[in-house]
């Protein structure tokens, strides 16, 4: 008997969400009408340069900022009509964290737990649980001002999880962290997803979106320009690139390969053949076999995959890395 696959539940449903900021005479459309859906148990990412509207969207969905127009349903509750109900079921970890530096990590966790209605004993138990799972034993009693960047961020996530929300919003969770802490944070986020929490995060780091997200949306100037799994997005843009160094007749090699079914585009670059293929890992052995049978000598072969930067470039005309540096 085949097991019935449950259709994924929709945890966030957004329709034409817009947010406009007025300052003096100028009006800025930070979020220009976005539509998206986030499913239960996935890590969903918003990737885009600074100022793209990621944080504004997140804050709207977390009920911190009223939308200018549009509708959204978050964890089954209408965002505009029942914000208090939304808040009870979500956790939010802002870019700046939100923990007070003057108190200890444990006190902060206990305080948050009590705000959600836990009695002192329950609150202490929950704090101990989180300290254990987030590996904060070594610093739990110290003031948060003494924490390293990684410890601070883990504590911030702990504060957001105190009431076991089914949906957690993470705004730029690893900005400013060293590479080690960043990888550690990624593990924490994956752990959350594996335990059934849906995670909606924003980031301007390509590697992060690639490594963590089940699905992502690329956002630029307040609009979604691409939406899908990292793999889908990358394949839609370019396919993999196989570069082959040919010692024999390069033109003949080109003629041989360019009309093969798995080759999308082919061109010559000096003594090298550049082939855009659907799947590099299956195309490369085929290419080598064909060249070999034709007696064309092979000197080098290289395989490179497209990156999300290629996706961003294709969708917006700019490189995400450059936009970020600007």
């Amino acid at each position: 008997m085949l097991a019935e696959r449950q259709p994924p539940e929709t945890v966030i449903s957004v329709h034409q969400l817009r947010r406009v900021f007025k300052s003096g005479k100028s009006t800025v459309e930070a979020v220009a009408g976005i539509d998206l859906e986030v499913y239960g148990g996935e890590i969903f990412g918003f990737l885009g340069p600074n100022g793209a509207g990621k944080t504004t969207t997140l804050r709207m969905l977390a009920t911190l900022l009223p939308p200018t127009s549009g509708e959204a349903t978050v964890v089954g509750q209408d965002l505009r009509r029942h914000p208090a109900e939304v808040r009870r079921r979500i956790g939010y970890v802002g870019q700046r964290g939100g923990a007070d530096l003057q108190i200890s990590g444990r006190s902060e966790l206990v305080f948050e737990a009590r705000l959600y209605g836990m009695n002192p004993a329950e609150a202490r138990r929950r704090a101990a649980e989180l300290i254990d799972s987030l590996e904060l034993e070594s610093c739990a009693e110290r003031k948060i001002s003494t924490y390293s960047g990684g410890q601070r961020r883990r504590l911030d996530v702990g504060v957001g999880l105190v009431h076991r929300p089914q949906l957690l919003f993470l705004d730029e969770p690893t900005t400013g962290l060293d590479p080690q802490s960043r990888v550690r944070m990624w593990d924490e986020v994956r752990k959350l997803r594996d335990q059934g929490t849906t995670v909606f995060l924003t980031t301007h780091y390509l590697e992060e979106a690639d490594a963590l997200c089940n699905r992502l949306a690329i956002i630029d100037h307040g609009r979604i320009v691409a939406l899908g799994t990292p793999d889908e997005l990358k394949r839609a843009v370019a396919g993999d690139l196989v570069t082959v160094g040919v010692s024999g007749d390069v033109e003949e090699a080109l003629r041989l390969l360019q009309h093969q079914p798995f080759v999308r585009e082919a061109s010559i670059d000096g003594r090298e053949l550049r082939l855009y293929v659907d799947r590099g890992e299956t195309a490369t052995p085929n290419i080598l076999r064909l060249l070999d049978r034709a007696g064309l000598g092979l000197t080098t072969v290289a395989l490179s995959r497209p990156s999300l930067d290629d996706v961003f470039l294709r969708s917006t005309g700019r490189s995400l890395r450059e936009s970020d540096a600007a």
């Binding site: 900021f21 911190l64 009223p66 956790g91 939100g98 108190i103 305080f111 009590r114």
Partner: protein, 253 residues
């Protein structure tokens, strides 16, 4: 009731921070203490001048000094809120179900408690100089300090939430405090003032608080000034609390 529970939680949190930084109590009491020790003695020689209220220099000066303590002490509470805004604390708390009013009241109660401690220190300091008062008088006096503290702290927090930046917050607070102080009769009683100045001072709600506190210290509890001063402070405090609680609820961009 949820409001009381949340307010108690918020108060506990800020009280905990306060207990670990008792130096702030000393800092807050320093300025009024200096006035007490270095300025008040000068009043002794003019205490017999016609127009100066009866009762003795210190009995006239100290009640006004307590109003000054509350005014200046509570005015600066917004600075700590601005740092919290920068840290994202307020935003994080707004996602929780905590009552917006308790976010204000919990903090304000901590501020009022600080003022109480400082007021008691000042009164004790003034005793050797000849301060005398009725017990009921001092209780009502402390009550006035609490109301003023609540009023000014609420305004300070509301302003901090609106401005979000020390550089715009500080000048407003400091520029507003001085005329309020000078026009309230704290340093020298308004009864010594020419008519035009006295008229302007009646527009300053704190001058009524000072008059009320003086009457209460001297034991004239049935004086009309007392009810007037307390009522004005109570009404203003209620409005300020309502306004500040609303500010905590609005979006923080």
């Amino acid at each position: 009731m949820k409001l009381a529970h949340d307010t108690w939680l918020v108060f506990q949190r800020y009280f905990g921070i306060f207990i670990h930084n008792p130096a702030w109590v000393a800092v807050g009491v320093l300025q009024p203490a200096l006035y007490l020790l270095l300025f008040a003695p000068l009043l002794k020689s003019i205490a017999s001048v016609p127009g100066f209220p009866h009762g003795g220099a210190y009995n006239v000066f100290v009640p006004g000094l307590l109003v000054q303590l509350a005014l200046f002490g509570a005015a600066g509470v917004g600075f700590s809120l601005i740092s919290e805004l920068r840290l994202g604390v307020v935003e994080r708390l707004r996602v929780t179900p905590v009552s917006r009013l308790s976010l204000l009241l919990g903090r304000a109660l901590r501020d009022v408690l600080t003022l109480f401690v400082q007021a008691v220190i000042l009164v004790l300091l003034a005793l050797p100089f000849g301060l005398s008062f009725k017990p009921l008088g001092i209780l009502i006096g402390l009550g006035l300090v609490a109301l003023i503290g609540l009023l000014v702290a609420s305004i300070s927090y509301a302003l901090a939430l609106a401005l979000k930046d020390e550089n715009s917050f500080a000048p407003i607070i400091f520029t507003a405090s001085l005329p309020l102080l000078l026009l309230s009769g704290v340093l020298l009683p308004m009864s010594l003032a020419p008519n035009w100045l006295r008229t302007i001072s009646t527009l300053n709600p704190f001058s009524h608080a000072v008059a009320a506190n003086r009457a209460v210290f001297l034991g004239h509890l049935s004086n009309a000034n007392v009810l007037q001063g307390v009522a004005i402070m109570a009404v203003l405090a209620a409005v300020a609390v309502w306004f500040a609680a609303r500010s905590f609820g609005r979006a923080i961009s």
